[in-house]
Amino acid sequence: MAEDRRVLTGEHFLNGDHACAEGAMAAGCKFFGGYPITPSSEIAERMSERLPEVGGIYLQMEDELASMNAILGAAWGGWKSMTCTSGPGFSLMMENLGLGVVLETPCVLVNIQRGGPSTGLPTLVGQADMMQARWGSHGDYEIIALAPNSPQEMFDLTYKAFDLSERYRVPTLVMSDECVGHMSEKVVIPPAGKMPEVQRKYTTKKPGEYLPFDHPAGGVAPMVKAGDGYNIHVTGLTHDERGYPVINAEAQDVMVRHLIDKINKNRDDIIDVEEIDVEGADVIIVSYGISSRTCYRALDMAKEEGLKVGMFRLVTVWPFPEEQVRELAKRVKAFVVVELNFGQIYYEVERCACGNAATYLVPHAGGDIHDPADILAALKEAAK
Amino acid sequence: MEFWRKPLDADQVKVPHGQIYVIKERCKGCSFCVEYCPRDVLEMSEEFNKKGYHPPVAVRQEDCVACGLCELICPEFAIHVELIKEEEEATQKPEV
């Protein structure tokens, strides 16, 4: 057999968008349906070149509504699939992100965030879609979102997003940003043998016994694909374990609880954070994505000034690491939240701090990253 | 007065017969089958089903030629017709 073209191996100097595409390929992504939008288009470009090399298909859809649906269709056809977008496209994908959630369809959606609202700053950085990632589609659900802060993490976390989406049968978001997407750094990729393709779990039950939307305690049912002979029915309506629509409050309760429980009861497995000098810190910076890169520098500056400062970086943003923040709040004076918006994750931190620690925000409207001096000033204020 | 031309081999052609089945509870009384049956086999019955519709009834079952049109036009999957096999139809075939 020829070399495994799925995995680009070795050390490369890649921008975040390209690294993301390579992470998807390594995970075994076979279908990309997308619509070009700055600053995510480099992902689409890379996928259009790479997917045909592994027998996959890149299809440029007519819009983001179609893109999101096409990757759901491809997933039920048996392929791992992905799309990518930015602000306006992310808004257009929201309706059918909800379809993916309710159909419990594994797939990956990458948002290279730019400044908004509306067309906003197409070529400049933003981080103001974080709450949309959590609550963007109508209805009640839980979702998984990861926030890479380097091209290496664009590779690693895209791969991981595929893994999580398969394990929990949920569309998984990679909430990156323009700066990380367009930044080039060294990306180290292990050989194909050490990077197995993410596997989908298929049922071993016979047709007639299999329930596509079963909810074993805290888990998910294995899948089938169209054409396997199971005559599955899949609907965006509230449905029972068979997938048949049931339009009443009881069925709604069972289904929505399942959508929430399968994520919430597995938080320990899903959540990943980076902690720096958290022990003994008076003040803790909470940040994610590109903003966390600025915080590293602010952390150095604060230490030079003798402040006892630590950092809590969200690698997984959703589900939010509530327990960890609650525990930290009991031990520290304050949290300083650094993000390119006027308070999104900030409110989550404040909520989980439960008044045990003060919560400060270093807001920024986007278009550029923070000035480390502004973060330092907030740290000083918080340490008082 | 209508004139029908009778085919010369009419006596040799076996006219098929059909058995009509109505799933009464599914019927919603649209009367498509009654209207479009080419042999006027069906009529709407007087009886009501549980939903309050009058299902059709085969009043001239012997005229049914199993063309299947009622089955095809019924929007409710409530009527179907089975072709009666020749051997079943024939009385006592002599043993050879």
Partner: protein
């Protein structure tokens, strides 16, 4: 994070869209990260216009991890446009080097001439047949003047980054710039000794 501050070099490239400022940053970063085993971060300013507008890229080369991804105070600045020179010239380390295209940039009256290197990059490139390789001439000059990245690493990065069929031309441009850089550096040190 390591306790000791690792050696961190910062370079800013600035010019017009179409001069290949992003390519320059990419080649330098790739050379450092992939072929010299260091860490490098390349970012670029990025606007809606594909050609003619202001364009710049930045590279940080570091022995340890690069945390803050943007240039703070560059050690070297390469200016291939007047606008870029004027906009960024104040921001350079005390011993920083300012490389300008001598035909495209007029120096400010108060410019510290000791830090400035005036290079006929575009003219050299035209002599080689393609104006488009002026950026690579600059890279050659930069390579002669600094030790951020090895000569060998840059050559490999050029060969891997430029379109196939243009490797020879780019290599010639690089060598031309580098030879010029070595000569100028030699002249300056002789002058300093004298």
């Amino acid at each position: 994070m390591p306790a000791a501050t690792p050696k961190r070099d910062e370079v800013r490239f600035t010019g017009f869209g179409g001069q290949g400022m992003a390519v320059l940053g990419y080649i330098l970063g790739r050379a450092a990260a992939v072929y010299d085993g260091k860490n490098a971060t390349m970012t670029q300013s990025y606007g809606p216009e594909a050609r003619g507008g202001a364009s710049s890229s930045q590279v940080i080369i570091c022995d340890g991890p690069v945390y803050y991804p943007y240039v703070i105070v560059p050690n070297v600045m390469v200016a291939m446009s007047q606008e870029g020179y004027t906009k960024f010239r104040e921001n350079l380390t005390d011993d920083g080097k300012m490389l300008v295209d001598e035909d495209l940039v007029s120096l400010a009256p108060d410019e510290d001439l000791d830090r400035v290197y005036r290079i006929p990059a575009t003219r050299f490139a035209e002599e080689l047949g393609r104006k488009i390789v002026a950026n690579i001439v600059m890279l050659g000059f930069l390579s002669a003047l600094t030790d951020f990245v090895s000569d060998e690493a840059i050559r490999k990065a050029i060969a891997d980054s430029v379109p196939r069929g243009t490797v020879d031309l780019n290599m010639k441009a690089y060598e031309k710039g580098r030879a010029h850089g070595q000569q100028v550096a030699g002249d300056r040190s002789t002058k300093a000794e004298a």
